[in-house]
Symmetry: C2
Subunit: 264 residues, 2 copies
């Protein structure tokens, strides 16, 4: 092969997601188990036969393209995980700013809907950004993909090949620490009135516990941030976000309809 | 994004490998721990800084292209794991015959060599197919990539995100069963005389234990097969390969210089 010749890559699917925007998306899959998404296969890859047997697997690998990241890369990046100031080699990170912009996430497979078996529960899809008609959909959970992300491959997860329990990862040895989430009554009332109350509450709490603020803003307490989740904008304040002060607190101050949504 | 527009993919590296050819390559990574390979980064992705910090990780994900597979796909494939006759959806398999021909393997990172730190032990590289000069090399183990395979991404393995120990995989729940390997004295003498005797013996035994014969030939006992490993051709016979007869036996009958190698 001539390694200077580019290969081409065609999307086989596109994401609908509880994450309408990049901001707030967790930095790895599995950190927000409440997140729901739908992979809608696109023609000519949307034949229901192409997913025949896939429900034998509880987890799937999604390969995708970080299409919201710029097509520029540098040999070193400053990952948020290291505080946003330390530079490491791009191939020693999962940064979105990388050659080929390829992403990789293991997700939970929750359901399959095809033209012959349309079975997705409607409450799972309410408020999800980017839903579209398709012959074949996969409902997934625990993902970290923004709505509209192009999917370029789907593979089954094989625990005996993919689970390396003894692996060392000294630059990121454990999941990020979590903030404690507290609710203002006015915000809680909005969530309690929703049909998807349990799912939306879990989604908001798990996303905010990750501290979605950019690393360079971590000292910027009392500022009100907004994160788009499903069809709402969640306004929050981080009251103590530094690791050396014990677990920080994130407070949900308001929940309003999302930018492109009708009033609630 | 317009999902009908192809994205382009540029190789960031190319493999040198103990596997000169497709035949004999195990069907998942980790099954042949003795396998060694080298990812040689290609310009402009070969800056030593691009792998700065990578030795903090014991395992890496390689995304690559099955460039020896035809660029045709069908909604269903017949995986060897299911005996070669049962059809399942292509996205329910890791078949190489898939849209975009993307491969994904977790491998062990053994060493890094850059222009400022050229440290690969020569005995590891002796006989490896496809070695080339480069500014930056990664020595890897336990892989399943053929020499010349284009690498399109390298990411660290994060056990807290990637190890789903509780995952179900009912179509392929356990590693494939292994054959018992026996040696003809004439073959054993050739291996014993080599400088890389321990590594080569382990490689041969682990590869043959996988039963590299094509699924449709599993009934074809006593036929002599040849598999290329490092710089040798290994001739073998499978004496009882059916699962219902207990563990089969594979016998190493002869080891000769590889096709493109000088005489030993």
């Amino acid at each position: 092969m001539d390694e200077s010749s580019p290969l081409s890559l065609t999307p086989i699917g596109v994401m609908a997601s509880d994450y309408p925007d990049k901001f707030g998306v967790p930095r790895q899959p599995g950190l927000v188990e409440a997140a729901r998404g739908v992979v809608s296969l696109v023609a000519p890859y949307d034949a229901p036969l192409a997913v025949d047997g896939i429900t034998a697997y509880s987890h799937l690998w999604l390969s995708f393209v970080f299409d919201r990241s710029p097509e520029i890369w540098r040999p070193r990046v400053r990952p948020p995980r290291l505080g946003g100031n330390t530079r490491v080699g791009v191939f020693a990170t999962r940064s979105t700013h990388r050659p080929n912009r390829l992403g990789l996430s293991v997700v939970r497979l929750l359901d399959v809907a095809t033209s012959s078996r349309p079975a997705l529960p409607p409450w799972e899809l309410a408020g999800m950004a980017g839903m579209r008609p398709a012959r074949t959909h996969l409902l997934i959970g625990g993902h970290d993909l923004v709505a509209g992300t192009p999917i370029v491959d789907i593979k089954p997860y094989l625990p005996w090949a993919d689970a390396c329990g003894e692996a060392n990862a000294d630059l990121a040895p454990t999941p990020p620490s979590r903030l404690v989430v507290q609710w203002e009554p006015v915000a809680e009332r909005v969530v309690t009135a929703r049909a998807d109350v349990a799912a939306l509450r879990a989604l908001i709490e798990q996303v905010l516990a990750q501290d979605p603020r950019p690393a360079y803003r971590r000292g910027d307490a009392d500022r009100v941030y907004g994160v788009a989740l499903r069809d709402v904008d969640v306004r929050f304040v981080v009251e103590a976000g530094e690791a050396d002060e014990g677990p920080g607190v994130v407070r949900v101050v308001e929940i309003v309809p999302g930018a492109s949504q009708p009033p609630m």
